[in-house]
Symmetry: C2
Subunit: 217 residues, 2 copies
Amino acid sequence: MSSEAKIEARANGQAANEAKIPRTERGRKTLRKLLDASAIEFGEKGFHEASVSSITRRAGVALGSFYTYFDSKDALFRALVADMSATVKSSARAALSEDMNALEIERAALAAFLDFAREHKEIYRIIDEAEFVDPQSYRTHYKTIGERIQARLKSAGESGEFRADLGEIEAWAIMGMNVFVGLRYAVWGDNDTGQNHSSQDIAHVVNRLLSEGVMRK
Amino acid sequence: MSSEAKIEARANGQAANEAKIPRTERGRKTLRKLLDASAIEFGEKGFHEASVSSITRRAGVALGSFYTYFDSKDALFRALVADMSATVKSSARAALSEDMNALEIERAALAAFLDFAREHKEIYRIIDEAEFVDPQSYRTHYKTIGERIQARLKSAGESGEFRADLGEIEAWAIMGMNVFVGLRYAVWGDNDTGQNHSSQDIAHVVNRLLSEGVMRK
């Protein structure tokens, strides 16, 4: 396996992007505008208060053309959750390079996710609201990320870097670590304590927990 | 510090129970019935569809007496989140004993939480809905648990069992691990894979991640 394929295998998993991809470049741009505008609208107002007309207005797209891309507000929401899953995945992958070992990959993926969440705080509200609006999308989002982490653990177990017995439970534990430090530091911010933690600092501390555990040596 | 006080200090933190405590035993029982009935109602229907009249019916309490205890459905919801925080805390503490070391305390606290979540799956939906219905309760719930874990890490650092440099970031990472394995195995269950993980098994695996980390030795 080439190094790139190795990183791919580690970073990948099975993300399913449910957004319909239009055939023309213009159509793809319009779809992108609708997804970006809906992230802001759903993030600010929540699903129930959000409206298709307000989303098309934000996107600068004619109301009528909305239905070329989506059957309903529900369909747009589902596509947005799938799109966010894909964006989380690609932003993490963009931070990885061929010379990284398995531990560095975990650190870089977390730092990239924290940077992404700082820039797109609405992702938490939208994914969390999916639990109520579209439970299947919510499950798929976390199952997909969990599978991706589990694939990385397996690959690192096979290469001899990590323990060979790491599986789904550890993958979900690592996902939970990442999601919760993201909630605390990227979304809520550091205002309570006056401390300022960079994404790199946080990723370093969490990575040390992964590499060393908690015990006094 | 006595062993009991040590466990207390480790397990405690600063949970604020916002439910008003009535003065009579009968009043306390009625309040308890309302909280238990509201957990089922909010868990099944969600906050917006839930109604005070349905909650009092479930509780076997007269509609009029509801307002002796709560000013509104919102106030009941806030009290329920605080009550659930307190119940999570006390169920974890009940699983601890004086002879446990710091690592065993983390394992036992997680196993107890997983058992609790299996019995009260509605807790996830209610806490998660608090993000939208009452963001302050949502933050307080996780801040309180995070502070409790951080206090345990500090105590174990001082006793020399854990690294002395564990702080808030590690506390939030551990909380995230626990919440996510709870979501995956206690709430969703094991049906996808056909595997069956007991709370003890899961707590053991997560505990090994804490004690050893992921590296191949």
